[in-house]
Symmetry: none
Subunit: 136 residues, 2 copies
Amino acid sequence: MVNKKLTLQLDFHSHVPIYTQIVEQVQSQLANGILKPGDQLPTVRALAEELRVNFNTIARAYRMLDEARIISTQQGRGTYITEVPSQKVTEKLKRESLIALTERFINEAQRLGFSERDISQMVRDRLKVKNETKDL
Amino acid sequence: MVNKKLTLQLDFHSHVPIYTQIVEQVQSQLANGILKPGDQLPTVRALAEELRVNFNTIARAYRMLDEARIISTQQGRGTYITEVPSQKVTEKLKRESLIALTERFINEAQRLGFSERDISQMVRDRLKVKNETKDL
DNA sequence: CTTATAATTGTACTAATTGTATCAATGAAT
DNA sequence: ATTCATTGATACAATTAGTACAATTATAAG
């Protein structure tokens, strides 16, 4: 397998800045194993063109990921997922991914007009259903 | 279709405040389908200039619409009609989409390795945070 | 093989665009 | 005249875009 193309879903109407969306999704994909240590990310310009965004916006996201030691950006070479991210980092990443995932979920549900009660009830409900079918 | 220009009729002699007139007309145009979810509204300054009004008046109207969840204003980016599902969506459909949404969420979270406890705890947690920040 | 040059890539700094916050001025109602 | 809602003026903050630059790598000339 070559050139796993980084696929990002941006919501330009979201209140979440583009660079934050990029950061979150890269973190999530790393936590999920979609991205792996050593993988090269697209160049700031390439990704910018693909996402129809200014390359400085990508650069900003990369800088944030770099500061979080998640990627390593090297002028003139490219950007790569950091090798051997510590157990601590991956745990933290997973946690943050879950937070981001949960918030997206809640926002989506509320956008549909559901109350907090509805939402938490539904989560309980689905977890329960999952357990019951598993026990068959 | 691009750049549907927001057209507002203001009555400067009315005793109804300008910002109220703006709020009402945007609401009305949304209800009439003249404005649709995702549509970008003019910037506060652009609309202010067009209507010969101070941009703070526009900002105030936008803020009210934002608080009413009708639009989403984003500093540095712009203002958009909120992506809200129409009333035409039946309760049943909504329910079904919440189920689907919830199951996708749970599956994602479990794929990240989180337990059911983790997941429901995180949902409670995020809902709580949301409430607290709202009350500021 | 060494060196010069171009191409590619990230960085830094600045500007432009957009909404926010605060307070002052205006004007109508009492 | 006082009060209060409305509007305006000004300064600020956040996001994105523009431009020039520096580091690395690739390529070609000698």
